[in-house]
Structure formats: C-alpha cells, structure tokens
C-alpha cells in the first residue's frame, strides 16, 4: 500500500477552503512519509471541481463520478470510496473534518477494519497525528498501527490553505458501481432555520450593548457596527430594563444564552448574570472605559477606551476589511 489520497469536498459547486487545508495537510504528510499525494473529487459532474485542483502540485486527480453521487448520501459516498480504495490501495486517506465527513468516513474506515483519526490539528514525524481531547484542554498523540489504510481528517484552520504549492496534475475518471437499493437514506434540500425576528441563541456573530453606551441615542452607533459585521444586536439587562432595546435582546441568566463565534461586548462590565449567558462564545472581544471591568478577564481581546470613539472606528475598519 502506498500513496496519500486527499478527498476534496465541494461547497456551492466550488472546492471548499477546508479542502484546500486538507490538501496542505496531505502535502505535509507526503513530505514526512516520502510519498506521492493525490486527490479525489466525488459526485456527479465533477469536471469543474477537478479543473480547480489541476493547477496544484498533486500527482493525480481522480474524478469519482456516478449519477447516484450527485447528492451526498453516506451509503453512496462510502460505497464509491470503498471501491476506489480497494482499487488504489493507498497508505493514507486524508479528509477535511466537515460534518459530511463525520457522517461517512468512520463508516468507510470500518469497512477496512480501521478507525478514523479525526479532527487532527498537527501532523509530525512518525507520522504522529495530534488531536484535541477534553474539549481542547489536552492534546493526544495518535499513531496508526497494522495493515490497512490510515484514515485521517484535519481540523478547519489547522493547516494553511495558501501553503498548497502549484503544479500540474493529471485527471482520470473512476466509475463505481452503485445500485439504487444500496442508498437507504433520502436527503432533502438544505434550508435555513425558521425566520424569527430575533434569534440570538443561534446567531454566529453578536454585538452586545451595555450601560457604557450611556444614552439610547447612541444605540444606532452600535447597530451600525453590528450591521457592518453581519451580527445580531444583543444587550445586557439594564439596557432592556430601561427599554432602550426590547427584552428579546437581553443576554444573560434571565435572558438568552448565546454561543456565537464572536461576541463583541460594548460597554458591558461583566456582571455574573451576563457572563453566564455568554460563556459559550468561541471568541469574546470587549470594549470598555474601565480597565478593571471584569469582562476583560473573560475576553480574548480587549480595548480600553471611549465607546463613542472606538465604535465608529471599528465600524470603519470592519467595512474596509470586508471589501
């Protein structure tokens, strides 16, 4: 068995960024193990995808094509890749760690008597694969043992997509055999959650307003920043108590509990009733006049300054960055 194959995933008809990161990981692994590395794209009508990948320093690109792969199903993808792997006999197969991969890669690996080494954050000499344990509090070093391909998936952001070198690859087509009866699940079109006026609980970006805003007339400033960010507007309790924002926007122990990627706290001191509502945030940035405000303990990034000056500056900076 030899060779590394990277499974590329599409998003809106294009190669997803995390797939490029997987290619980058594969590149690193290839260097460590002194092997070729190649890529597959899988689906129906994959010429476009292949065309994107062709200008990279990969050995081969294979388009796994079948009409029954037009929409993702775990049965379909597993079957197709199983047949491909039985054919190619790679040493390692690298995936981007996406929801989709989590749905079929363990199944695929089990077919070969293997288990997926998933959500890898680093690859080092060995090869040794590092992944996080205990919700990120510990790192574990994993090794593959025995015969059979090693299946690995890489965490988003762990490898740099722009580290993929340019080159030229060849493209071939592989057609698996898939019977209709073998596809047991039927997947609908993707849809968004029910439209609500305010859904802070599922918002990914939230700007929170606290007493530091001082005047209801200043709320539009915060709203402008939120709009620029594409974020929802929330508030700490005193703001809603005073009626400056509606109660649905209250974040805290007696309001909404949020878990966004980014929570930007403007003029919020960090009282416990508010903190329990935001502790699920991935990244917290705070702006406050008081350098001793407790929110700075919990924040990843902090700005000590006058809200009236910092907020407009932030809005400008965000707008610039988004261009």
């Amino acid at each position: 068995m030899s060779g590394i194959w990277i499974v590329i995933e599409a998003r809106d008809g294009r190669v997803s960024r995390i797939s490029w990161e997987a290619v980058s990981a594969g590149q690193k692994l290839a260097a460590l193990t002194n092997q070729d590395f190649n890529a597959v794209v899988i689906g129906a009508g994959t010429e476009g995808l292949a065309a994107e990948v062709i200008a990279k320093a990969l050995g081969k690109i294979v388009r796994i094509e079948h009409p029954r792969l037009a929409a993702y199903t775990p049965d379909g993808f597993t079957l197709a890749l199983q047949q491909f792997i039985e054919n190619e006999r790679p040493a390692q197969v690298v995936f981007p760690h996406t929801y989709q991969v989590r749905d079929y890669a363990p199944k695929l690996a089990a077919r070969f008597g293997q288990a997926l080494i998933g959500d890898v954050t680093a690859i080092s000499e060995g090869p040794v694969f590092t992944r996080q344990l205990m919700q990120g509090r510990l790192n574990g070093s994993y090794r593959h043992s025995g015969d059979g391909p090693c299946f690995v998936s890489v965490q988003a952001g762990a490898f740099r997509a722009d580290a993929v070198q340019s080159g030229a690859a060849t493209v071939t087509v592989f057609t698996p055999t898939i019977e209709a009866a073998q596809i047991r699940t039927r997947h609908s079109e993707c849809f968004r959650g029910a439209a609500q006026t305010v859904d802070l609980a599922s918002a990914q970006l939230i700007v929170g307003v606290g007493r530091g805003i001082r005047d209801p007339a200043n709320i539009p400033l915060a709203q402008e920043l939120a709009t620029a960010l594409g974020a929802e507007l929330g508030a700490s309790r005193p703001i809603c108590d005073a009626g400056w924002l509606p109660i649905e926007r209250q974040i805290g122990s007696s309001g909404q509990t949020i878990a966004p990627k980014l929570y930007l706290a403007l003029g919020i001191s960090g009282a416990i009733q508010h903190m329990v509502g935001i502790k699920g945030s991935q990244c917290i940035a705070a702006v406050n006049k008081d350098p001793d405000a407790p929110i700075f303990e919990a924040a990843d990034y902090g700005i000590v300054g006058d809200l009236m000056e910092v907020i407009p500056a932030l809005t400008e900076a965000v707008k610039t960055a988004k261009q």
Binding site: D241, G255, S269, A271, Q273, K289, D290, D292
Partner: protein, 661 residues
Amino acid sequence: MLLFTATLAEPRLFSLAEKLLLVVLVAASATGFWLRFRVVLGKILQSKPDVSFHLFPIGKRIWEFVCEVLFHAKVIRQRPLPGLAHAFVFWGFCAFVLVTLNHFSVGFGVGFLDPTGRFGRFYFDLAAVFAVACSASILGLFVRRFLIRPEWLGEQLSYQSGVIAFLIFLLMVTYLASFFVAEADPAARVLWWVHTLALLAFLPIIPHTKHLHLVLSPATVFLSRGSFSRIPPLAGDEDFGLIDGTDLTRLVSLQAYSCVECGRCTEHCPAAATGKLLNPKEIILGLRGFLNDLGPTSEEPLLGKYNPPQAPFQCTTCGACEFQCPVGIEHLPILVGLRRGAVNTGTWQDDYGSKLFLALERGSNAHGLATSERDKFIEKVGLPIFDGTQEYCLWLGCMGGYDPKGREIITDFARIMNYLGTSYGVLRKEKCCGDPVRRLGNDLVFQQLAEANLQALAQTKTRKIVSICPHCVRTIQEDWREFGAPPTVEHHSEFLARHADQLPRPSTISATNSESFVAGHDFSRAATAPNSPGALAPAAETIVYHDPCYLGRYRNVYDQPRALVNLAGELVETPRNHERSFCCGAGGGLVFLGEETGERIGKVRADELVATGAKTVATACPFCNSIFRDALAESGDAAPQLLDIAQLTARRLPKIERTES
C-alpha cells in the same frame, strides 16, 4: 359614676318552663357546635401524622404560648391599634369565663357568684371594665373592617365577621346594661335571655367560621414545628412533598383551619405587593377549601382548582408571612412542600429551573460556570487554602466564588481577617450549599449537594465556617442537619461585630490622612466612582441598611450589621426595617428563574432605600447586593453607592500594597 355603686342584676326565679327551654337551647347549641367541630377535628386527625414532630423540649412551646396567646405579643407589636383592640376582645373573653359559667348557673338557680358579696362585686366590676374595653374594641374593629376596609382584608365583605362582631357587642352591652336595672325588673330577665341567646348563637357559629381559631389557635401556636421555616424531611420512599390530599399532614390541616383571614401574611408578602398571583392567605384558605370539600384522603391534586400551580413558584421564601402570622401558621414549609410535590415528580417544567437543576447535577455551582473560574479567583487574590490547621474556613459560596461583586466582598473581608490576624483558609473545592434547590423543592439535588459538602468538610476537618452569604449560613447550619452534622457557621457580620473593638475607629479618618485608606471598589458606578482608589467618602455619610431576609427574620441578626454600619457612618433606617424588612426578591431560587411578571420586587425595595436620601446603601448579602446593583443602575449617576458591610469596614483599614500573583 353609677357603675361603681351599681351591682349586677341577676334575675331569680326562673320557671320550670324556662329552665327546660334553657336545657334544650344549650343542648341544641352544643350539638350545633359539636356536629361541625367533630368534622373539622376528624379531618385534622385523619391527615397523615407528622413524622418529624417532637413535642419536647416543651419549655419553648410554653413560652411561645404565653407570649403569643396570652399576651398577644405579635398581634399587638405588628399591628398595634387593631392588635390591641383584638387583645382586649380576647382578654375580655378570658375575663368572662367565670361570668359566663355563673350566668348559666343562675339560669338553673344555682348561681355561685354573689353580686353583692366582696369577691362577686370585685369580679363583676373587673369584668365590666373589660366589657367596656371589649365593646369599644369590637366596635372599632367593626368600623375598620366594614367602613375603612383595608385592602389586605380582601375585597369581599365578610358577613360572618359582621355577625360575630354584633354578637360580641351584644354580649358586652347586655352585660353592662344589667348594672343599670334592678334585680326584680323584667328588663333584667330580658337582658339575661338576650345575653344567653347571643351566647348560644355564638357557640355553633364558631366551628363554621374562621372563629374556629378561638378553639384551635392556642393549639396551633403550641404545636408549631419548632423553628422558623422548618422544612420537614420527606417521610419514606413514597413521600415527594405536598401533591394531593393524602400528603396533607395534621399540622398542615390544623394550621389551615386556624386561619383567621387577617391578611397580615399577604400584607407583607413581596410577591403579592408587586402584582404576582401568589397570595399567602389564599394559599392557606385554598388548602382549607380543599379539606372542606375533599378531605385529607382525596387523591385530587392540591394545586389546580384550589390554588394556581404557578403561585408557589413566585415565593421568595422571605418569611414575612410566617413571621407575621398571629395564629402560628407556618407558611414556608407549606409553600416549599407544594414546590416539592411539583419538582420531585418532574411535573414542574420550567426552562430556567431545569437549567439550574442540570447545572447542579453535573457541576459545582448554581451559575453553571466552570470550577476553574473559582480557582482562578483564589489564585489571583492569593487566598490561603484551608488545610485543617486554620481556625476558620472562609466559605466563598456561589456568589463569593463567581460573581464580581461577591468576589470584592470576599476580598475585602479577607483583608479584614488578615488585619485582625485571624487564621483562615478557603476550601479547594466547594459545591453550592444547595439553598436554591432546597427552597425550590428539589430534594434529589439538595441531598447530593449536602452529602458531598459534608463529606468534603469532614475530610478537611473543618470546624468553623464564616460566610458572607446568609443563605449559605442558614442552609449549612439548619438544612444540612438532615444529612449529617455541619460545622458551626456564622455570618461575617457576626464575626466582625465580635471583633469591632479591634477594628480602626472612624475618628482616625481625617482629610489629611484619607489618602492612606483604600476605598472599597464600587462597581455599581465604576465609570464615575467618587471613591476611586485613594479617595474616601466622609465619615459622616448617611448609610441606609437593608436587612436581608435570611439574616434578619431567619437568624435574628439585626444589631451586629448595624454596629458595623455605625462605625462607618450614620445609620439610617428604611420605613420597613428589622423583622419587617422588604425582600430584595432574589430568594427562594427566584434569582435563577428568569424575569418576574409585574413590578420588580427588587426595584420596589431599591426605591424605598433611595427614598431615605442616604448616600450609601449597605447590604449584608451578596444576592441583595446583586439585585440592588441592577435596580440602582436605572438611576444612573444619581444612585447612592452600594457597599457590603465588609466593604464599609475595609475602607478604614490601613492601605497595603496589593500583591497580585
């Protein structure tokens, strides 16, 4: 005055017919009384026995009886004028015992008190004095109920009360009138019969109305559970709280039938005062209605038709109701019992409630925050760890360990202890004391927390605990007893008051040396704090003190915090202070349950504190502090400062370099 010279006219020579009539009437009246009273007694005795009730020690019970029943202490102290009026009616009844016995004996021709004899004259004159007081009182009470109509007596006019008032008045008036007629006068006989009929009408009315308290309340006061807000342990594997009629115990039934509908409980209830469904009087009367209609063997739910299911969950367990009740009804075990029934069976479905229970099922604190947050705080401030060798264990609690303001209070208190040279340490691991789940009726989680904590304390050989939170103090000292022997615990106000003479006096503060004192950091106005490090509010500042429910009514600690406030400035009292303190609204687990409906209890109290005009609000409980912090924030910069008594005390300590590791 004629009264002093007049004697009571006792008619003589009742005919046989009259005597027979009297026999029949007495028998009818007694039967009327007994037929109903028997039913009530039956309902009480058919109720489940109270497993955890102990008659001994009896001394306390006798004392309570003497104070509350005989001397009407609480009745008078809490509502002076109406209370005194009621006392006179009661004392009148007591004084009339011999009079009444004699009255009936006279009817059978065997009167034993001679109105012309020395003792007879003295006694009847004495009774007359009481009769005057009683008539005036009952008249006054009648006017109050029917003309003035205070709101806590309820919307509907109570005709029973009217009838009883009339009968009592009639009894007194006919008695007094007998002084003004001659023995042989037919009027004397008429008066005698009217008095008799009034009495015989009164007797059967008693068990049919709230006047049952005449018979029951002395027993109710005597048979109390033994201490304030005493939540009984669940009795066996099938007991989950007050769910249906079969869960009502004898004490609960006795108390339900003793209610006089005075409304003192509702008058002082913070939930009732802010438009919530909860009305303590209605809770008790709802149970009485249940007992009357369905009885203690019914499996119908207690909550539903007779009381709204949400009402018990609006209770802050402030205890004002139980404290005020003149007939000894213990509302808190009943309210918690109703909550237990809903929570222990999973019937109560509340998002915030579930969140709280799940947080304590899986974690260590009521906020659901990571334990590492507490560890970080301990490390940052450099609090010593308790290892069994120090004298005190400083209990952080969920607020002291995780809330920024609570942490400030701990930090300042620790500074004071350092200054005093007290040896103390904080536990490496602490779980929530369980107060919120205990008051909400979740016995499963409470037991787990109490047992885990008791085990940890035994392992670390903790003997004495000092805490900044009255809820922790109460729960550790009283509620944990069900599962083991807790160490002695006191509130930091008690500790500080004991060491008051070792603390710096206010006179040592002056304009020149004020820079050497570090002020307590006041987050309530972090942006524009006048007491920024280095500055100090003048020693003559006015400080209004708010009595926390769990320190005041629950623990009777009123003077020690005040002593500390007096050392820091000029103490100002709120209109409702000491045992009448108005709750901040956080208790009973409510602070974890999301927004209240109607007016905010905390806001009402904060407004009252602000209205005193004091420059500073002093608290002794981190929950009160947290509630007022939000409520005062609405007044913006005009709000008074908000400081715990530890912070007020620490202000005067000499400045030390803070070493933050």
